[in-house]
Amino acid sequence: MRMRAGTGMAIIASVLLAGCATSGPKFSEMTATMSPTKPDLGRIYFYRTTVLGAAVQPGVRLNGEVVGKAVPNGFFYVDSPAGNYQVSTETEVERKLTFTLEAGQVRYVRLNISMGFFVGHVYGELVEEAKGQEEIADLHYTGGPKTP
């Protein structure tokens, strides 16, 4: 009986850990092969560093269109024309981030999690380039480039 309980615990633990694992190459491994941004576009990196609230992985919308998911330890990017952008995620509540993007500009949006009533809230925060580059280096790629 003790063996069964132990086995059960091990299975649960492995399932939980598997849920936290993020596959895909690391940013630092991808940079050499990553296509450069076209001159008339800017690039927005989205990333989530924390595994806190790993089960909460809402879709990330850019100007209303889903461009990826807020996967713990993951990142993805979108190349877009210069203009005004709104990032939103939806859990219990919708929290938006608005910013501008210029041609050739690179923006970093960190997907943070804060405490909610039933589930955590995931929201985007604009991060400076140096900080973004540092934080994204060991994260895993979770999507493909998209142009909304």
Partner: protein
């Protein structure tokens, strides 16, 4: 287990209150007239308290370029730091300066003005 509709209603209300407890950033419509040709350096950091309970810090030794004017003052932006206004949502902002004081922020996406009350005196150099 029987859960009353009233209990569920109260629970939903509490959830929505908790979820949206941060106030929205105060904004008023404004009109930006583009302009260029002026700049200044901030010699001392300045912290502006927002009505949302958050604050925004302008760092020392950042250089600010004029991008336009609004009725409330001159609008400057910098490439030395990111300026955001945080409340229920987060907005990128440019600073609005009038007679050497930070009087508010211009939100370029929303095209609105968010006041800082009282205005914050800035220490600047050309």
């Amino acid at each position: 287990m029987i859960v009353s509709k009233r209990f569920l209603g109260v629970l939903s209300l509490v959830a929505s209150l908790v979820g949206s407890c941060a106030p929205v950033v105060v904004q008023e419509p404004t009109q930006l007239t583009p302009a260029i040709g002026k700049s200044f350096r901030l010699t001392q950091a300045a912290e502006a308290a927002l009505t949302t309970g958050y604050s925004t810090t302008l760092r020392a030794n950042t250089t600010w370029q004029l991008v336009g004017t609004v009725p409330q003052g001159e609008v400057y932006r910098t490439r030395d730091q990111i300026v955001t206004l945080e409340g229920a949502h987060i907005h990128e902002g440019y600073i609005v300066v009038d007679q050497g004081a930070l009087v508010g922020f211009y939100l370029p996406v929303e095209r609105t003005f968010s006041p800082v009350t009282p205005p914050k005196r800035l220490s600047t150099a050309p």
